[in-house]
Amino acid sequence: MLEISDLVCCYGKVEAIKGISLSIKQGQLVALIGANGAGKSTTLRSISGILPASSGRVVLEGQDITRCSAREILARGIAHCPEGRRVFPDMTVEENLDMGAYLRRDSAEVAEDRDRVLTQFPRLAERRSQVAGTLSGGEQQMLAIGRAIMSKPKLMMFDEPSLGLAPNIVEQVFEIIDGIRKSGTTILMVEQNAYAALDMCDYAYLMEAGSIVLSGRGSELIDDKHIREAYLGG
């Protein structure tokens, strides 16, 4: 569904991604793991068009989207749930969800989808008129996920969805993501919590210093010696 080949991305003169290739099949949950600063977030930012690629290709369902704007990429069905949740702090929960559906023109269906998201996340329904900045971290993450769902994406990208959340909330967030996969949406997830990511994914890529150094099925990588030592604590 999504094919990335030889993607290079730079911040100024520094190459943050040094020519990576990866592929995601329809309906899969693919994890991108690695240490801080390995280039995982940069990869997502580049796919979603916020950070232009220096070279390489990103192909979605056979169409080259490397040079597309963030707006066009979203319109083609890739939603990006950014690191640190990034909800709009001074907008209400409902307004945040509406922003997720910004490009959609079918307002009746948008209203239905919004109600569906609010039913799925009762905590948000209770706070629908509250500004998002006053929500807890977990609630903000639910809102960020709900907002991404509102664009009706084919592929959802999650950047560190568990970051800074309490352990029981982390579990909930992973269950939600698993639910989204089961409903048929393809997922690319960046996660520092390597164990959880490998446990739930179909396929995983390990990034180190801007390159992909290892890839395989989640169950294989969990038993890999290098990964065990470096990322799973022995």
Binding site: A70, R71, L74, A79, D90
Partner: protein
């Protein structure tokens, strides 16, 4: 008292326009006062010289202010996207100088007056008397302030503007066309400034220098209300007008314009984020 309300409402228009532009685009718009002067001159031009209906002239001036704003944004600011705030500040100072001198070149330095269709006889209610024109200006300004609120808080464009203000990258992930939002913001801010000029021009006189003091006052209002706060700019406009009237009435009319700046110095000393800003926000 009535005077204070008229000034306050038009000051609020000026302030809202400036605070929108700064809040969303991080551009310090030194040409804001010139857009105010542009509105006043445009009314003079089409109402007096071309003989259009006065109300229609007001409307056309406001729209023309918006178009001029959009042009300034696309031609002067868009190529400088991502530039330092000081750079865009210099560009806007340049735009101010060009606009002011163009006005002087076309219309000359002599102040013009705009006649209106309102009766000369003031409206007298008990001990108060107020001219029809001033009454109209007050309500028209209030209507425009309400329209600005509605636009920002209730429309899709307004939501996109607020989202861009709060988190530009994430707004673009939602599919917001940031370039278009910047253009719309500058156009709306400019048309509000032009509206203030178009409304106040007929009350006073229209001169090429009118923009200077208007710019200074707009900055004063925005500082009073807190950067990026529309509610703050509205209230700031009224506070400034109140301070000026009080200063002119009880101290000396020569100090009218100084009162506002005394107020700013006081605000900056005691509450540097502005009177109404929680933190930086818009809406």
């Amino acid at each position: 008292m009535i005077n204070m309300l008229i000034l306050g409402s038009t000051y609020a228009l000026l302030g809202i326009g400036l605070t929108l532009i700064f809040g969303i685009m991080r551009v310090v718009n030194f040409a804001h006062g010139e857009l105010y002067a542009f509105g006043a001159y445009f009314v003079y031009f089409i109402a007096v010289l071309l003989g259009f209906n006065f109300f229609l002239s007001l409307l056309i001036s406001i729209v023309a202010g918006g178009i001029l704003g959009a042009l300034i944004e696309v031609i002067l600011l868009r190529p400088m996207r991502g530039a330092d705030i000081d750079t865009t500040m210099l560009i806007m100072i340049g735009a101010m100088i060009v606009m002011q001198n163009t006005e002087q070149y076309i219309w000359g330095g002599v102040a013009k007056s705009v006649s209106t269709p309102f009766p000369e006889m003031p409206l007298v209610i008990g001990p108060f008397s107020v001219s029809w024109l001033r009454l109209f200006v007050f309500f028209a300004a209030l209507a425009l302030i309400a329209a600005a609120y509605f636009l920002i808080n209730r429309t899709k464009l307004g939501k996109a503007m607020r989202a861009t203000f709060q988190d530009r990258d994430t707004a673009s992930l939602m599919g917001v066309n940031i370039q278009a939002i910047y253009m719309a913001t500058f156009a709306i801010g400019s048309s509000l400034a032009a509206a203030a000029g178009a409304l106040l021009g007929p009350v006073y006189v229209v001169s090429p220098q009118m923009g200077n003091i208007a710019s200074l006052k707009a900055f004063a209002i925005v500082i009073l209300g807190g950067l990026g706060s529309i509610g703050g700019a509205t209230i700031g406009g009224f506070i400034l007008a109140f301070a000026e009237e009080m200063g002119a009435g009880y101290v000396s009319s020569g100090y009218r314009d100084a009162m506002g700046f005394l107020l700013i110095i006081a605000v900056l000393l005691f509450k540097p984020t502005g009177l109404f800003a929680r933190s930086e926000r818009i809406g």
